[in-house]
Symmetry: C2
Subunit: 299 residues, 2 copies
Amino acid sequence: MNLSQIELLRILQETNFSLSLAAEKMNIVQSAVSRQLQLFETEIGSPLFERKGKKIIAMNSLGLRIMEEVNAINQAKTNIQTLASDYLDSEHGVLHIATTHTQAKYFLPKPILRFREKYPGVRIYMDEASPEQLINKLHTHKADIAICTEKVADDTYLMVKPCYEWYHVAVVLKGHPLAEGEISLDRLASFPILTYSFGFTGRSNIEMAFKNSVSELDIILSAADTDVIKSYVRLGLGVGIIAGMAYDEKIDTDFVARDLSHLIPSSRTKIAYLKNNYLPLYGQHFIDELIFAAEEMRF
Amino acid sequence: MNLSQIELLRILQETNFSLSLAAEKMNIVQSAVSRQLQLFETEIGSPLFERKGKKIIAMNSLGLRIMEEVNAINQAKTNIQTLASDYLDSEHGVLHIATTHTQAKYFLPKPILRFREKYPGVRIYMDEASPEQLINKLHTHKADIAICTEKVADDTYLMVKPCYEWYHVAVVLKGHPLAEGEISLDRLASFPILTYSFGFTGRSNIEMAFKNSVSELDIILSAADTDVIKSYVRLGLGVGIIAGMAYDEKIDTDFVARDLSHLIPSSRTKIAYLKNNYLPLYGQHFIDELIFAAEEMRF
DNA sequence: TAAGGTTACGGCGATCGTAACGATC
DNA sequence: GATCGTTACGATCGCCGTAACCTTA
């Protein structure tokens, strides 16, 4: 057993068990991959894959179980490398952040600005994805830190820290009937609604608010992206329900924002990362900035 | 980086950073060890050890941190091997059990007998040690399963399962004054006492019982081992306080045992093993036997 | 000066690449 | 027959062992 065999197994996982693709990724010829896999299997004393003829289709039960250990080894290996380069130079490096459009646009600018000042040598990769993809990106090591609002499933591999709490607001064009007067669930439901897609930015909380209500929301447009919602509200399509922090009174001067905190339960934005994944010092400081920005936002 | 370098680091830890000893353990010459270590350090880009001249004294902070990852890799590596051999033949193998004398003699016989019937091909190594050494044996992979009574410190790496609950009894020779009548803390304290050493077999609970009492125990003999206590009780030295399951009415016919469950809080014997350590199937079944035996004991 | 560690160099074996072959869609 | 995987063989590179050298108790 050696580390390149372990690495090979990891890559096979990624390439859907294609030896030739794996060879390419490892910068060696395909025959070498074939042999290394055989060597490993003979050392183990049992095949690890379901084969159909020569092609590998899937892993068998032993292979699946071994894969967990393989992933642990790979994780530890990259941790050693990160640890070392962090030790040698904690000012430079890269940071992969996975988040949704709304967070990226309305929450992250401030903390990222502050972070850049402290760590001008750290390259930031911002990766926008749907909430359900975010956690996956952590597991596949495509992201170091995820910032997300929708509930993250109980995952023992994941470290989840609360970041901040926020409420939805309704936005309408000035002069719209909803710009004035009390707002109730029923009154809100009497207008056509534009809000986030399923699984995005607290949409589940909006659902929850109306679950026990007689009136039903008439959602005529769902988008993953606050700016899309705003654009269509501007066209007069209806009432936008967006995250509070996505309303900017300096920019959205044509809008009136109405607080919905009494109608729709609060949403919690969280910071998540893999427990086993060593974050470089600046990564830990980035999280500090997020939490600092969250606290500042309260006032 | 390769697995033998990782293995080398593990062994260096064990040998107090002696290159020559490490070489011996790895069955290679010392110069090879020296070179591999250098190669690893240059690859990392930083020394990992505190050196005094040529000798290695200790690990530096980076080394210590990296060691955690090294241990994770080694753990995963042996897990792969155990997994594989378990998959190929789950009937044969070895099982290292670490426990105290009292458990080994008075609790384990039955479950081990039953286990042997199911798994005649599994070699059992029973390792007796003091309670505080037990956990250490798990961490150093000298034992797979530990059975212990005294509190195990909060240890995130450890899986601890409750096994059974038991009480102390007082044993005296027939005709001894304590063989008759009510027993109170005060009355117990009026006799010379023989019991377990500090840190053994619920000794802490005996201490606890007398902490808030006016009378103090006069412990004239402490031993790690129930049989030693019994022997000296037989010589008439005083009253023995031993674990309930260590009194066998068929063998200890010269003794009278008196229940102390109303005086001394119950003790809990637990089963502990490393979370990250893969237990072969028979190891899991051994734990099942322990719990089964524990349940049977209640009646 | 003995014990432990480093450096230099030669030899062996592991693993890669080329290439020819085999199978499966 | 094109793609993917296996087998065979020669070449290379890494790693070990021998041995001489260095350093410190």
